[in-house]
């Protein structure tokens, strides 16, 4: 192939790229419709972030398009041609000053709103915030609502513990205290809260207020975004934003003790649960209410997913999970487990070798009835 032909091809491609650039921009903007999108804010915090992002994005786009076009033009226009002599110059002082000042200006335009939002988001949380402790564990999230549990016998407020699904009230500020039990995790709900890490030994926090119009049936998606081991990809959570009435209804149910199973199979499952599962899991209001390091299952039947947001909550998935969880969530094999004094087990073991398929079925039935 001759140089000429190659040049023609590259010019043709250059033109195509020019057409593609706005198309790429369009695609970038349509990313809004994706469920885990980062650019469709539904809270004051993410909206503040979005405000900075848009300034940064359009400035970047401007620089991007300008430099790409300039590079293309220079490459095409100053290509070798008969009779063309290269101009022998070494530099130009005023130009150097100009293209030092332009980036300085761009940086300043980005920096001012950046600092504003930093100041806003690291100030102090609103006083009327609902306080929730989110604890990252390999590989699930525990959520503790401060003081929202049923009062104890002496009338003191207790905390309400749940897992992997967070329920919030639109317009009500939440102050999330971020903790980690084992390794570093990160708490992120792209539409509601920019990520902050959960670091063992550190007390991080963040706060936000879901918009009044952020109420919706489907969940907002959250996911761990700091690499935390084999099943990092399988550490997700869901967030439901209710109106006041909906939130109170959820709270009323969630804080109450577990309901009695109604089916025969479910009753069998309840008995088996106390023997087999109570070592790690709590179901409040039953004999299985001493353990505190597996997810609290008091109302597990009311959750939409199991295994930290990776499986739909139904009997068949529950059976698979109980039978051999490591099959679904790599890394929770007993050989990876850490035995220390306070926590005899971190990882759920496979029960298919220990109990019969019928018994697993019964436990699964019981769990689905724990609405």
């Amino acid at each position: 192939m001759t140089e000429e032909a190659l040049l023609r091809i590259s010019q043709r491609w250059a033109r195509r790229l020019l057409i593609l650039a706005p198309a790429a921009l369009f695609i970038l903007l349509t990313a809004c419709s994706d469920p885990q999108t980062t650019i469709e804010p539904a809270s004051d915090m993410t909206e503040a972030i979005q405000g900075v992002y848009e300034i940064v994005f359009w400035l970047s786009m401007f620089v991007f398009i300008a430099i790409m076009l300039l590079t293309l033009w220079l490459a095409v226009h100053y290509r070798e041609q008969p009779g063309r002599e290269a101009i022998q110059i070494h530099g130009h002082q005023r130009l150097e000053i100009l293209w030092t000042i332009i980036p300085v200006a761009i940086v300043l335009i980005m920096l001012v709103p950046t600092w504003q939002v930093i100041a806003d988001t690291t100030d102090t949380p609103p006083e009327d915030s609902m306080v929730i402790t989110a604890t990252g564990k390999q590989w699930w999230f525990e959520f503790t609502y401060e003081g929202l549990g049923l009062p104890d016998d002496e009338g003191n407020p207790t905390d309400l513990v749940t897992a992997n699904e967070l329920h919030l009230q639109a317009g009500k500020p939440v102050h999330v205290l971020l903790r980690a039990d084992d390794v570093i995790h990160s708490f992120w709900i792209p539409q509601l809260a920019g990520k902050v890490d959960m670091v063992p030994g550190h007390e991080n926090d963040l706060w936000f207020t879901p918009f009044e119009d952020s109420v919706r049936e489907e969940a907002y998606l959250g996911q761990c975004v700091e690499f935390c081991g084999a099943s990092h990809a399988n550490m997700r959570f869901r967030v439901f934003v209710h109106d006041e009435e909906g939130f109170n209804a959820w709270l009323e149910n969630e804080r109450s003790d577990a309901v009695e199973p109604t089916s025969e199979l479910g009753k069998l499952g309840a008995t088996l649960f106390v023997v087999r599962c109570a070592e790690c899991h709590t179901v409040r209001g039953t004999a299985a209410s001493i353990a505190d390091f597996g997810p609290d299952l008091t109302h597990v039947g009311s959750r939409t997913t199991i295994a930290a947001g990776i499986l739909d909550n139904n009997i068949s998935n529950l059976v698979d999970w109980i039978s051999n969880p490591a099959e679904i969530k790599p890394g929770i094999n007993p050989e990876n487990d850490v035995i220390d004094k306070e926590r005899p087990l971190r990882f759920m073991r496979a029960f298919e070798d220990e109990i019969s398929a019928e018994d697993i079925q019964a436990i699964a039935q019981y769990l689905t009835e724990l609405k």
Binding site: L70, I106, P190, V196
Partner: protein, 599 residues
């Protein structure tokens, strides 16, 4: 030849293998670096293709979670420490003495030692795959997941491998800093140094200052893992965030260690093929120095989401954005170099122009997440993966390929085939953009990085497939380079001394250069010495008859000491007795090295 008691006589045999093992010639060491690094580069590429294959479709099951985590960790470690860094080393080994008009580096045996330690360190790191699993907690090895409580023996290979590699880089850095300061030809003032030499010079200081920080952190990690100390573990009073500070104080200058040599290459290639001097030489040099300095003040931008607090976020966002200013100055000067030129579009020039465009994209996206609030949405998503690959593939790697096409005739005497070269370029260019541009979209759609699986229905399916296709096209482009090398190797070495009409001193000697580089050390009168000679009708002076050129003899000691260092490292991985064995080997090597005659 007199031999001191107990030392081995300098090798005299003609055996090819032994001549390479004992060589202290900077050109041969450069070639060893290049070939070794290229093989590691292919290994890192295969790791990348496996990762992309797994992620091509949602819920992929090509490889399991554990292997995936090893692969993404090893892909980063391999590409950073075993491919891009040593490919830069290959160039500066080969080119520094030639470009400054010297016969060799200041410490030729130390140079050989650097290479052998690098080779052994690299083998330690890669061998982890067959000894119980590779490192699997990311190349950044955050604590406490990299502690002995949560990770396997792979992380011991990580600690030992990186410590060994650090010795290699540190020795090389001191060697080349001294070489550039002391061995310049007459008239080669600092402000006449080729920009590639300037960038190398800056990188040497970054290495000298950054590697000790990493080494300290690695020693603490080694102690935490092996001797139950608690530098980074909260239950013992340590702090996992301390590791992050130490790692990124090394890790961010490391990014400039990777990219500055490529910037140097491009600063040579652009003027040569635009047929005019580099625009704004001083601005480019001082921008490089500014980047080198600012590179130390930005490390915490890797930690914006760790709960740093308002003041730290504000300061590190300002310093990080500020680094865009000297970077912008470089880009504008490169573009101005093309302005008014008569540009000859060789493959080397294609790669250099693409470098400017692609690196700029990586630079722009870098400034985007320099804003901590924006980073709260982008950190640890595919947006960052896109960013780093525009910098390190579109930037560093395209710079390396530009340099390969540019200097290949100097190094081998053979021109690479331009048609195959254009195939090589366009496949890599298209593949690279297909693979990495969609990752911006994935990041904006909320796809976290380092996940071995994802569900469908999140809007990530299509772009992941595109990215995988792009990765394979990129790999095909690299294959064309290999074909090109093998094909042109059959030809006669007839490239000539200066096939590109290039301006710098390495083109004033033969291709490939003689072992002593220059028959007569040239005198330098300008920043473009070869053009100066051309324009003033000067010819290279003939050597006076009977002149003896002193060259250092080959030596066994570099590889002996390197082997001792390897034994030191293998101790903590297998049995500490090996470490004990390594000590006398090193002492013997140093003793023999010291007493070895140099004639």
């Amino acid at each position: 030849m007199a031999t001191a008691a107990g030392t081995i006589a300098a090798p005299t045999t003609e055996s090819v293998v032994w001549s390479w093992i004992t060589t202290v010639d900077h050109k041969r060491i450069g070639a060893l670096y290049g070939v070794t690094a290229f093989i590691f580069f292919l290994i890192g590429g295969i790791e990348a293709l496996l990762i992309r294959t797994q992620l091509a479709v949602p819920n992929g099951n090509v490889i399991n979670a554990e292997l995936f985590n090893q692969l993404f960790t090893m892909h980063a470690l391999t590409m950073i420490f075993l491919a891009i860094m040593p490919l830069g080393a290959a160039f500066f080994n080969y080119m520094v003495p030639l470009m400054i008009g010297a016969r060799d580096v200041a410490f030729p045996r130390l140079n050989a030692l650097s290479y052998w330690i690098f080779l052994f360190g690299g083998l330690v790191l890669v061998s982890s795959f067959i000894f119980g699993g590779a490192p699997d907690t990311g190349w950044f090895a955050y604590q406490p997941i990299s502690s002995s409580q949560f990770s396997g023996s792979g992380m011991d290979f990580y600690v030992i491998g990186l410590m060994i590699l650090g010795i290699s880089s540190l020795a090389a850095a001191l060697n080349f800093a001294v070489t550039i300061i002391n061995l310049r030809a007459p008239g080669m003032t600092m402000m006449r140094l080729p920009v590639f030499i300037w960038m190398t010079f800056i990188v040497m200081f970054l290495l000298i200052l950054a590697l000790p920080v990493l080494t300290v952190a690695l020693i603490q990690m080694l102690f935490d893992r092996q001797f139950t100390t608690s530098f980074f573990l909260p239950e013992g009073g340590g702090d996992p965030i301390l590791w992050q500070h130490l790692f990124w104080v090394f890790g961010h200058p490391e990014v400039y260690i990777l990219i500055l040599p490529a910037m140097g290459v491009v600063s040579e290639v652009l003027p040569t093929f635009s047929r005019k001097p580099l625009f704004g030489y001083a601005a480019i040099v001082f921008a490089g120095i500014a980047i080198g300095f600012l590179g130390w003040a930005v490390w915490s931008h890797h930690m914006f989401t760790t709960g740093l607090g308002a003041v730290q976020q504000a300061v590190f966002s300002a310093s990080t954005m500020a680094i865009g200013i000297p970077t912008g100055i470089k880009v504008f000067n490169w573009l101005a170099t093309m302005w008014g030129g008569s540009i000859r579009f060789t493959t080397a020039m294609y790669f250099a122009v693409a470098f400017v465009a692609l690196f700029t994209i990586g630079g722009i996206s870098g400034v985007m997440h320099a804003s901590p609030p924006v980073d709260q949405q982008q950190q640890d998503t595919y947006f960052i993966v896109a960013h780093i690959h525009y910098v390190l593939v579109g930037g560093a790697l395209f710079g390396v390929f530009s340099g390969l096409y540019y200097w290949w005739p100097k190094m081998t005497g053979r021109l690479l085939n331009e048609t195959l070269g254009k195939w090589n370029f366009w496949l890599m260019f298209i593949g690279m953009n297909l693979a990495f541009f969609p990752m911006h979209f994935l990041g904006v759609s909320g796809m976290p990085r380092r996940i071995y699986t994802y569900d469908s229905g999140l809007g990530w399916d299509f772009w992941n497939l595109v990215a995988t296709v792009g990765a394979f096209i990129l790999a095909l482009g690299v294959l064309f380079f290999i074909i090109n090398v093998f094909k042109t190797w059959q030809q006669e070495p007839d490239a000539g001394d200066n096939p590109w009409d290039a301006p710098t001193l390495e083109w004033a000697t033969t291709s490939p250069p003689p072992e002593h580089d220059f028959d007569v050390i040239p005198e330098v009168h300008s920043r473009e010495p070869v053009w100066y000679m051309r324009d003033h009708n000067l010819t290279t002076p003939e050597p006076e008859p009977g002149t003896h050129i002193h060259l250092p003899p080959p030596s066994y000691y570099p590889i002996i000491i390197a082997f001792g260092v390897l034994l030191l490292g293998l101790g903590p991985l297998s049995h500490l007795a090996l470490t004990a064995l390594g000590v006398p080997v090193i002492i013997y090597g140093i003793w023999g090295w010291t007493l070895e005659p140099t004639e």
